[in-house]
Symmetry: C2
Subunit: 131 residues, 2 copies
């Protein structure tokens, strides 16, 4: 973990890959990750953990499947949202977005249950930031 502040803009400028988070810092046993996203992720669920999203740029949509059916929330720049543990969800960003996530270290990007993983989605627990 860096003992100096990290500029999110520099972190985002250090990579191009979509749906492929970089770990910018750790807090106890949690990761703070940033990612560039565009198009669709996959339907997936994290059985044992909530997942926090902050939209840094652009707009992120998250579809959610709950007891009352399916709904979609839209997060413009500067919005925060937590997907509850166990909730099937699918992030997508028609025009692209940059996001910050907060979740336990080791949490896979595709969750514990998920659709088939297409080539454009990186199934990872996050990559080391190289700035």
């Amino acid at each position: 973990m860096s003992n100096q502040p990290i500029l999110i803009s520099q972190a985002l400028a250090s990579f191009d890959a979509l749906w492929s988070p970089r770990i910018v810092t750790r807090v106890n046993d949690y990761d703070v990750r940033v990612a560039k996203v565009e198009g669709e992720h996959i339907w997936h669920a994290h059985d044992d953990t909530d997942e926090f999203f902050l939209v840094l740029d652009g707009e992120l949509h998250i579809s959610l499947r709950g007891p009352e059916g399916e709904r979609t929330v839209r997060l413009p720049k500067g919005a925060v949202f937590t997907v509850p543990a166990g909730t099937e969800h699918r992030p997508f960003a028609p025009s692209g977005a940059a996001i910050l996530m907060f979740e336990p270290t080791g949490t896979p990007t595709v969750g514990d249950r998920h659709d088939e993983v297409p080539a454009h989605v990186d199934a990872t627990t996050g990559h080391v930031l190289d700035v």
Copy 2:
């Protein structure tokens, strides 16, 4: 916990108090808090938890006391930094700032060890957001 996205700008517009965090969402047993700050906080330490800062606006300085003496990090808008558990630190913002913090629910703003708390610092575990 809201089941709708929350705009950080609206959360910040809902209160004026300085050094008095509002909880915008929860992630498992962690809080995501936002605060307006200006001037000096106090020297304090959280014995059992790291503390994450993201500067949303303005500039935050954090002085830190470590084995090698005292140093100060400066976080401009868009910077992230984690204060390690047990590290004495003092946030200050000469010209004001808005910040987002991430820490275990119940973490006191003045830590487990601290200097005398002056009137302008709210000793709290965070307030409910009213938007």
